[in-house]
């Protein structure tokens, strides 16, 4: 449904914009109906930038994003509104997403004014009620309240309900639970999983591997703007291939296993050819020709639904490149 094809974003930095800073480099993946894709990366890996490009909040430098076959970058004027009917985002901080002067349900009224000006009052309140039920909120507990009277989890779910009022197909959830408490976190996660069951495609952006592992079908691991490993969640977590993924998984604090045990497990599974870059083994580096677009794939398929990129971690660790 939503498809990213070699998307890049670069910024001009330095005096007179003399330098180019690449925030996202050649990222390709799809988000399909009824699927949660988790986009995992550390700070500065470009995960939020990707979300913002999909939401048309910033321009794409190279590559293309298509939604149901339409190029997102080419949507202008009135068509933008119908794009936003299908694709919506919810962001990290629920407390700053609301105007504290107005009641929290004003976000619904704004949607009505913008998208459904001719809907009757009773029809509209049925619709709001339905959306609230979908995110497991009781209407009388949250309507007519100010943001400070509601908890972070309730506010965050209200924002999702707001998005549900539209004919939503894709939800960009950018770190929506990192500011919530452990006890309410799981409720929001379960709600996302239910929405997925109703056919919505969700891009779940997070830095927390255990959350991504819990709800997603597909995992994309980003490092410094590039995808290093992606594929079916059980394959990426069950058989991490890229050295960076291994480091990440070994560093996640777990509840029943100490760090040292996890590390020993991953090393034991390592096999003989660990350390050899599987990507450059499949696609040997070739000389860059000026004027010719390099169309070599950026990832190599190591097993079904499991792709890895070059093993280079910055200090020339890829011996083949």
């Amino acid at each position: 449904m939503l498809s990213l094809n070699r998307v890049s974003k670069s910024y001009r930095v330095g005096i007179f914009g003399g330098k180019e800073l690449v925030a996202v480099r050649d990222v390709s993946f799809d988000v399909n109906e009824g699927e949660v894709v988790s986009l995992i990366g550390e700070s500065g890996s470009g995960k939020t930038t990707i979300g913002r490009m999909i939401l048309k909040l910033i321009d794409i430098s190279r590559g293309s994003i298509t939604c149901d076959g339409t190029d997102v970058a080419g949507i202008h004027g009135g068509a933008v509104k119908s794009y936003y009917r299908q694709v919506q985002g919810v962001f990290q901080d629920p407390f700053s997403s609301y105007n504290p002067i107005f009641k929290a349900d004003r976000v619904f009224t704004m949607i009505r004014g913008e998208f459904f000006p001719h809907m009757s009052r009773s029809e509209w309140s049925d619709k709001v009620e339905g959306a609230l039920r979908a995110v497991s909120l009781e209407p009388d507990q949250v309507l007519n309240k100010f943001p400070h009277q509601l908890s972070g989890g309730q506010l965050q779910r209200l924002l999702v309900a707001r998005a549900l009022l539209l004919d939503l197909k894709i939800l960009i959830a950018d770190e929506i639970i990192s500011m919530l408490d452990a006890s309410t976190r799981i409720d929001v996660l379960n709600m996302l999983a239910e929405l997925k069951g109703r056919g919505m495609g969700i891009l779940f952006i997070t830095h927390d591997l255990s959350l991504g592992n819990y709800i997603s079908e597909k995992t994309v691991i980003l490092r410094r703007g590039s995808v290093v490993e992606m594929g079916a969640t059980d394959k990426v977590f069950g058989n991490p291939t890229h050295p960076y993924t291994k480091i990440l998984i070994a560093s996640v604090p777990q509840l029943h296993k100490k760090w040292a045990e996890v590390e020993a497990e991953i090393q034991a599974r390592g096999g003989s050819d660990s350390g050899t870059c599987l990507y450059h083994k499949a696609y040997p580096p070739k000389a860059q020709v000026v004027g010719v677009v390099d169309d070599t794939p950026t990832m190599v398929e190591v097993e079904k639904d499991h792709f890895v990129g070059c093993f280079d971690l910055g200090e020339g660790t890829c011996r083949l490149a």
């Binding site: 550390e42 700070s43 908890s151 408490d181 452990a182 006890s183 309410t184 976190r185 799981i186 409720d187 996660l189 379960n190 999983a193 830095h207 927390d208 591997l209 255990s210 959350l211 592992n213 819990y214 709800i215 969640t233 059980d234 977590f237 480091i247 990440l248 998984i249 560093s251 996640v252 604090p253 777990q254 509840l255 029943h256 100490k258 760090w259």
Partner: protein, 320 residues
């Protein structure tokens, strides 16, 4: 026993009345013990940590005593505490990123700090360099400004500074929550190594991330709505918790390996009570699936097994 806290009550003064953020805490920490302190936001864990080192203007000492190595800490007296701060009790603040003076080079700032405590920078410098090496920072950090360091480097530098005078008690307040997973691990492991090297005698690690505590802490103390809920060795808290709140908290945590499709986790319904007028009896009563008639009385925080305390009528075995 390195630290003993008995019936400590610290309230916040607000226009609407006193917010009872810490309402009677009694526990002790042994020498060489790293105690993790966990709970939802607003349960009073930072209040407990802060009250052991510095009460800010809004905080009001109400009752209780704190004894460190046999000496009573005058926590109600901000000037009187000065003698103990940094030397006996030290803190790694939540926002280490902004804990250092941005206008001084780090070495110069440490020098000024030590001189304000009556120590000579020159005498302590060799030990400082040794510890800078130990946490994996280059010695040249001392001639750099804080802005030149990354988040993880700053966090480790602040850890070195906080423990430079070998305090007896170190309070680490949410020091890993703003860091990336790989840095988080390095910082947490450094914390444990400080205890192993004897730089600090005992530690309170405050965090909402229970899995970090499983990796680092020896014992865990769970707080709920200003009260202590349960204290036990880490393994016991994770594998055999007795307080229903602890049970629900632990079982709501997603872990690597747990998938929605295989095992649906459940959160804790409801929200913590307001601490302005907290409910009588057990404060977890409204959200507790096991609540029964007796819960209108407040359960005492009592020992239910060796090294295991809990405040729940069901856990004490009175009728369970």
């Amino acid at each position: 026993m390195s630290l003993q806290v008995s019936d400590l009550k610290v309230y916040y003064r607000t226009l609407a009345g006193d917010v009872k953020a810490l309402d009677g805490a009694t526990f002790s920490i042994d020498d060489k013990e790293i105690m993790g302190l966990a709970g939802e936001s607003g349960c009073g864990k930072s209040t407990l940590g802060n009250s052991l080192i510095r009460l800010d203007g809004r905080m009001k000492y109400v009752a209780g005593s704190v004894t460190l190595d046999g000496k009573e800490l005058p926590i109600w007296d901000s000037d009187g505490m000065n003698e103990f701060r940094f030397r006996d009790v030290s803190v790694i603040p939540q926002y280490a990123m902004s804990a250092m003076n941005p206008t001084r080079k780090i070495g110069k700032m440490i020098g000024e700090l030590l001189e304000s405590r009556g120590h000579k920078y020159r005498e302590i410098r060799p030990e400082l360099l040794r510890r800078v090496d130990l946490v994996g920072l280059g010695r040249d950090v001392l001639s750099r400004y804080p802005i030149e360091l990354s988040g993880g480097m700053k966090q480790r530098m602040v850890m070195v500074i906080s423990t430079l005078l070998d305090p007896s008690l170190l309070i680490a307040d949410e020091i890993t929550s703003a860091l990336d997973v790989s840095t988080q691990r390095a910082v947490a492991e450094t914390l444990v190594s400080f205890r192993d090297h004897g730089f600090v005698k005992s530690m309170i690690v405050i965090t909402h991330d229970v899995s970090i505590l499983y990796q680092t802490a020896d014992t865990m103390l769970i707080m709920y709505a200003g009260k202590l809920a349960e204290k036990a060795p880490t393994k016991t808290i994770i594998e055999d918790p007795r307080h229903p709140y602890t049970k629900m908290l632990i079982s709501s945590l997603p872990e690597v390996g747990v998938r929605y499709a295989d095992k649906k986790l459940a959160g804790i319904p409801g929200a913590p009570p307001s601490l302005l007028n907290p409910p009588t009896g057990c404060r977890f009563r409204a959200r507790c699936p096991l609540a029964f008639d007796k819960c209108v009385e407040e359960p005492p925080f009592v020992q239910i097994a060796r090294d295991h305390w809990a405040a729940c009528w069901k856990a004490t075995g009175s009728d369970a």
